[in-house]
């Protein structure tokens, strides 16, 4: 028994002694859903972070120090996210956390970062992350609330009054559904049907027939993954000729590939990054976006807006550290909050103590799918 206790102690000691890092590095912690159901978010996000951290280090680092990126995979599991956030804070002693692919994992760690007083920039969509404002929490992606507004504005222009809503039962779809239901009346729009589908559902024609029976002017789908593509196909298979709106959740080429010809004419709000090559050169973001797109595609294939969120989060942090001149957490936090006119992949960020996102509706472009590619409506 004694001997085994000794061995155990030695083993533990060995396990725990490996965490000495160079003190001079700036440590940026991240936890992303690189595997699991939300891996389409986490995967480009991690690739982006790794690519740009390397680039920054190759160019001499920030305030004379190299960046060390410490990453854990959450698989979109909030339980793991909580432990990894604690690990980043307590064990790895990172200076700032840039991470969380999903709203669930973000919401799960908010109490921890708030308590630890460490700046945290999330890459998840839900508006709940920054409303109400939490002192240490920021985010980069456009919110579902913004997407809903953008869509409603476009509907107003086309004189669409009655909308049949169908949403995914995942976090993104549910949260978007909530925003749509809450905002519709503000734009004089009636929601005639409120249907949903599960993550692994394979056919939504039953729900869509039900929507059709309510005689809407258009169908709006909030969701991500394979669901929206199936919805799009099903709508056209049913012979429904109504305009289709999708959310920014499908803003990737994959959606067009999966939905095929059914995707023609579908409108959705999305970040400018998606249509980088179509942006006029006068557009302020053009340069940033083109550079990011080229860098990413040179290494990893087609760009997605999700990686763009990671790019924004990283550079928001880096710029704030530069301005703060140190990694003092309180000062870095203040500097993030003071971000003005930051040109990111997602838009132009203007943060304030009451706005921890800092994007306006103009960060979204309303797109329409034409001939199997994006086109700008406005």
């Amino acid at each position: 028994m004694k001997r085994s206790v000794k061995a155990l102690v030695a083993g533990f000691a060995l396990l725990f002694s490996i965490n000495a890092a160079q003190a001079s590095d700036i440590k940026i912690g991240t936890f992303l859903a690189v595997t699991g159901p939300a891996s389409f978010l986490g995967d480009p996000e991690l690739k982006t972070l790794q690519m740009y951290v390397k680039k920054i280090n190759d160019e001499g680092g920030v305030i004379g120090r190299k960046i060390k990126l410490i990453h854990y995979d959450t698989g979109a599991n909030p339980k793991k996210a909580v432990n990894f956030a604690k690990r980043l804070i307590k064990k790895d002693r990172v200076d700032i956390i840039v991470g969380a692919s999903t709203s669930g994992t973000t919401m799960a760690v908010i109490p921890i970062v708030q308590k630890a007083k460490i700046p945290f920039i999330s890459m998840a969509g839900s508006v709940k992350i920054v409303e109400p404002v939490k002192k240490w929490v920021f985010k980069t992606p456009h919110t579902d609330k913004m997407a809903a507004r953008k869509i409603f504005i476009d509907m107003n222009k086309r004189d669409i009054k009655k909308v049949g809503l169908i949403s995914g039962s995942g976090g993104f779809g549910k949260s978007g559904r909530g925003q749509v239901l809450a905002l519709a009346s503000e734009y004089g729009i009636t929601i005639t049907a409120d249907e949903s589908y599960g993550k692994k559902d394979t056919d939504m024609t039953a729900q869509l027939s039900k929507i059709r029976a309510t005689n809407p002017d258009a169908i709006l789908n909030f969701g991500f993954g394979s669901g929206p593509a199936i919805v799009t196909k099903n709508i056209r298979q049913l012979g429904i000729k109504l305009p289709i709106y999708q959310s920014h959740g499908v803003a990737s080429k994959k959606y067009i590939n999966l939905a095929g010809s059914a995707a023609e004419g579908v409108r959705l709000p999305a970040a400018s990054l998606l249509v980088a090559s179509m942006l006029p050169s006068s557009h302020p973001q053009t340069e940033v976006i083109q550079a990011y797109k080229n860098n990413f595609e040179a290494k990893h294939g087609p760009v997605s807006t999700f990686g763009g969120h990671a790019y924004d989060a990283l550079y928001l942090a880096v710029e704030a550290i530069k301005r703060a001149g140190s990694t003092n957490k309180a000062r870095v936090r203040n500097e993030i909050e003071n971000t003005k006119n930051f040109l990111g992949a997602g838009g132009i960020f203007n943060m304030s103590s009451s706005d921890h996102l800092g994007l306006g509706l103009n960060a979204f472009k309303m797109l329409e799918i034409k001939n199997g590619d994006w086109s700008i409506v406005e």
Binding site: D203, A206, K210, G260
Partner: protein, 291 residues
């Protein structure tokens, strides 16, 4: 409302056909080996994903489908040989865990090979739908129903008309007696796994143009197939087929008429009710088990 009903029926029978094929696979394996193969859904995924890959490297469509089936069958045989056979004396709980493990393992393997993206297969014969009233029937739906019907018919004939088929059923009735009268039980087990992998793979190929596929597409289909097999009375192949179609229709009617959010809950509540009140399934034989 009637067009919602009709559309729900069409959708239900289509997806129910896929459940039926998976359920049939469950039933065949259960019949021969008393094992419920939780990895059944992975055959569906392997079939569809293999076809996607083969098409991507330029293999002609029909050949790709055929090779995909071959791959699915191989996975089935490997599963039997290396996971089920070595543990043949295992208890029910052990085999459940082994096959769930196999299912997770195959999913992990698929993740490494194919990544996390969704893929689609082209529809077998165009996408121009046929309109029945205001409901629609796509050509692919007809493929799903048609091929399922043919496969089910063939399996039925196989069990009732061929020596091998009858031998397969004999294994389930009494494996020791079967081996005594010279039926190679081991080979029959392999055969059962191959056959049910074939059915699963076929379901995958049929459904992929409608539902897309990804490395984790198998699990839910597997569970639904299992539910179908139980609804029909475990070990009753034709019962499993009926169970699959019933489950598909109920689900789809639930989504169309009651609540799409609770669709899966409805399916499982029905399953529980059947288990509680008619555990031998709709089509299982009633009666006391002799100890």
């Amino acid at each position: 409302m009637s067009d919602v009903l009709l559309q729900s029926l069409i959708t239900g029978v289509t997806i129910g056909s896929a459940y039926a094929l998976v359920g049939l696979g469950f039933a065949i394996i259960f019949n021969v080996s008393d094992v419920v193969n939780f990895a059944q859904g992975e055959f569906v995924m392997v079939g569809a994903m293999s076809a996607v890959s083969l098409l991507a490297v330029g293999v002609p469509f029909a050949v790709a489908l055929f090779l995909a089936l071959v791959i699915a069958v191989c996975i089935g045989l490997i599963l039997e040989k290396f996971a089920i056979e070595p543990a043949k004396s295992a208890t029910v709980v052990s085999t459940i865990i082994i096959t769930i493990g196999a299912s997770i393992f195959l999913r992990g393997l698929a993740l490494l090979i194919w990544g996390k993206d969704f893929h689609s297969l082209p529809a077998f014969s165009g996408e121009t739908p046929i309109h029945i009233g205001s409901a629609t029937l796509t050509p692919q739906s007809m493929w799903v129903m048609g091929v399922t019907a043919v496969l089910v018919f063939l399996v039925h004939q196989f069990f009732n008309r061929t020596i091998t088929g009858k031998a397969l059923l004999a294994c389930s009735a009494n494996p020791i007696a079967a081996s005594l009268i010279g039926i190679p039980v081991k080979r029959m087990m392999l055969f059962a796994y191959g056959l049910s992998a074939l059915l699963g793979g076929a379901a995958g190929l049929l459904i992929a143009p409608i539902a897309f596929t990804s490395y984790d597409a198998g699990m839910m289909l597997g569970l639904k197939g299992f539910a179908a097999a139980i609804l029909g009375g475990l070990g009753n192949p034709m019962g499993a087929v009926a169970g699959g179609v019933v489950l598909g229709v109920l689900e789809s009617l639930g989504a169309g008429l009651i609540s799409s959010g609770y669709k899966d809950a409805i399916a499982f509540i029905i399953l529980l009710l059947v288990l509680f009140f008619k555990p031998q399934g709709f089509f299982g034989k009633a009666g006391e088990e002799r100890v």
